[in-house]
């Protein structure tokens, strides 16, 4: 497993080589790819590359080879409920050790005067609730981790 770029939930194994002209050639699936002169605006923040192409924006995330191994291991036997948006916690309805069914409400969050209920992504047992009422969090923060019982 090499480095990869994550776009729209899909991993793309991309690598660079130095080109003759002093720049880089981009390789994907045995081919050299390019932008064919299309205007792409780019801004980098940490592992995230923000891009603008034809009126649409995209975020591509660099995924390190080692992290990919670690992530593959941790996804086995566990599940997480993440924050769909930044906000703060209004109510928590489960505690560690509770058995939950898929779709059962775990907590209620609020962002810009809008309430959203976070539900269990699958059947399981609550391993940890990572937030308390009143806590603020960023998008994609892990709110609740579940232990998934083996079938």
């Amino acid at each position: 497993m090499g480095h990869a770029l994550l776009l729209g939930g899909q991993l793309h194994e991309v690598w660079l080589s130095r080109s003759e002209g002093g720049g880089y050639d981009v390789h994907l699936g045995g081919k050299v790819i390019g932008d064919h002169g299309r205007a792409v605006a780019v801004a980098v923040s940490g592992d995230d590359v923000h891009l603008h192409l034809d009126g649409e924006t995209h975020v591509i995330c660099f995924v390190d080879a080692l992290e990919r191994h670690a992530a593959a291991a941790s996804e086995e036997g566990g599940a997480v409920a993440r924050a769909p948006m930044p906000g703060n916690v209004i109510a928590v309805s489960v505690a560690a050790g509770d058995a939950v069914r898929r779709g059962q409400p775990l907590l209620v969050i609020e962002s810009m005067k809008m309430e959203t209920t976070i539900t269990a992504p699958c059947d399981g047992r609550v391993q940890d609730v990572h937030v308390t009422v009143g806590r603020t969090f960023e998008r994609d923060a892990v709110l609740v981790t579940l232990e998934v019982e083996a079938a």
Binding site: H12, V26, A41
Partner: protein, 492 residues
């Protein structure tokens, strides 16, 4: 001109604070802004002649703290206060507090704000003047005749719990025979949700259009309307695109609706800038509410008439007479406003946050950007998601749409997800191009907000650009030649 005030405090933030500061300074006056510390790096603070920090339990609370803002205005030596929109703009107590402190409040008189700001009093004033309000019946007025009075409204009608809200217990009744069953159902839902089973019925307007009319009144009895704006492109009852003239109105209906707005404002004793809102459909229109302040979408009116509404507000507040009569106002062309918001349309328009890493605002003929942000600024969840407004005008609606499409295509804002891509796609939607969008359109068809799949050339262009920008990938490539060089040296 000889201004009765030399310095104006702007009691707001974001794009509207920047926009007001611009006109205040152009008129040779001094602009002061108040700001919560979270906005210390904002464009409004940078542009103002003076900025005063205000505090609050939350950032929003600071901008709602009337006493603190009045004190700031007095400290700064301001002679007038412009409230912008939102926050304290329709707060009669704030307008009074300004007057008590010897400050000119840029807006209507406090008692007019009170009368027209309350939906029930306003409706009463409008109906008493013979202007159209949606026919309605309130059960508690006389329960024994409710069914008959509801029936007289005409069908379809909307039946809802009198103490309701949020769409709960609301039923559209399409014909008289269905009224008894719907009454029972709405009553039981009202009882369950609100502990009150009494009902309210009003005319239901099918696929309604939201039409509003700008008015200006001075302190010498002159009042004009500045034509309509249509704001039917909404999500969750909030406007995202506005235009003028409305593609839904013919000449006669436009005349009637604009004249009604001016009549309503006159009857209310209105001064300064205000907007009368109507719901329109099936050849009818009904009064909805009046906004006793400058509105977010005021720039489209400015573009068509060549009038700076903030300048007019300041001149009226300074006691000047309107420099134009109704017949002098001849709108020319077509204009749109697109609200650039920190939100993700593909995820139910959920608000987003982030640091603005790159910002290139569009420009060119007919393109105006009223922006409240600068590159490097962080967008937080503390405020409304409106970041900027793209205002585009042209000789015709077609030309304005073409310019809007190009401007949205060129608008680069990276680091915080926005609705720019969605607005860009919307300008090509057949219903938008035809001017046929009603207020429920986007909520009824969430697929419109979905992001289209990437084609292979676009995917490759993005991956190639991202790979070149990614440091670890460059480092890996750079490590290879030196290795080759080392092997080469060893061979020699």
């Amino acid at each position: 001109m000889d201004w009765p005030f030399r310095s104006v405090l702007v009691a707001n933030r974001g794009e509207i604070a920047v926009r007001i500061v611009r006109t205040v300074q152009r008129l040779g006056l001094r602009a002061v802004v108040v700001h919560h510390e979270i906005d210390a790096g904002s464009l409004a603070v940078a542009r103002a002649d003076e900025a005063i920090e205000i505090e609050g339990a939350t950032p929003v609370a600071a901008y709602l703290d009337a006493a603190q803002i009045v004190a700031a205005a007095v400290t700064a030596g301001a002679g007038a206060v412009h409230p912008g929109y939102g926050f304290l703009s329709e707060n009669a107590a704030f307008a009074r507090a300004c007057a008590d402190a010897g400050l000119v409040f840029i807006g209507p008189a406090p008692d007019v704000i009170e009368r027209m700001g309350n939906k029930i009093t306003a409706r009463g004033i409008v109906a008493a003047g013979g202007f159209p309000v949606a026919p309605s019946a309130i059960e508690s007025d006389d329960p024994s005749t409710f069914a008959a009075r509801a029936g007289r409204i005409g069908f379809p009608l909307l039946l809802k719990p009198a103490s309701g809200g949020g769409g709960k217990g609301m039923h559209v009744v399409r014909e008289a025979s269905l009224l008894p069953a719907a009454t029972l159902r709405a009553r039981s839902e009202g009882q369950r949700y609100f502990g009150d089973g009494s009902l309210y019925a009003e005319r239901f307007v099918e696929n309604p259009r939201h039409i509003e009319v700008q008015v200006l009144g001075d302190h010498h009895g002159n009042l004009v309307h500045l034509f309509e704006r249509e704001c039917s492109v909404q999500r969750r009852f909030q406007k995202i695109v506005e235009e003028t003239p409305s593609p839904a109105l013919g000449a006669e209906l436009r005349n009637d609706i604009c004249a009604a707005a001016a009549g309503i404002a006159r009857r209310a004793g209105y001064t300064n800038a205000g907007t009368v809102e109507f719901i329109q459909g099936g050849g009818e229109f009904f009064f909805l509410e009046m906004n006793t302040r400058l509105q977010v979408e005021h720039p489209v009116t400015e573009e068509l008439l060549g009038i700076d509404l903030v300048e007019q507000q300041l001149r009226i507040a300074a006691g000047e007479r309107l420099a134009f009569a109704q017949a002098d106002l001849q709108p020319r062309g077509h204009a749109f406003e697109f609200r650039i918001c920190a939100e993700d349309p593909a995820r139910g328009y959920l608000p987003t946050t982030g640091r603005v890493l790159a910002l290139q605002e569009p420009s060119g003929a007919g393109v105006r950007v009223d922006s409240g942000i600068a590159a490097g600024q962080t967008v937080t969840a503390a405020f409304d998601p409106l970041l900027a407004k793209l205002v585009v005008s042209g000789e015709t609606r077609i030309e304005a749409i073409a310019r809007a499409r190009q401007a949205l295509h060129d608008y680069v804002l990276l680091g915080c997800k926005t609705n720019i891509g969605f607005l860009h796609r919307l300008t090509s939607h057949p219903a938008f191009v035809a001017g046929e969008i009603h207020t429920g359109f986007l909520d009824a068809d969430p697929d419109v907000a979905g992001e289209p799949p990437l084609d292979e050339p676009s995917l490759n262009a993005l991956l190639a650009a991202a790979a070149r920008a990614s440091r670890p990938l460059r480092d890996a490539a750079d490590a290879v030649p030196s290795l080759h060089a080392a092997i080469g040296a060893w061979h020699n």
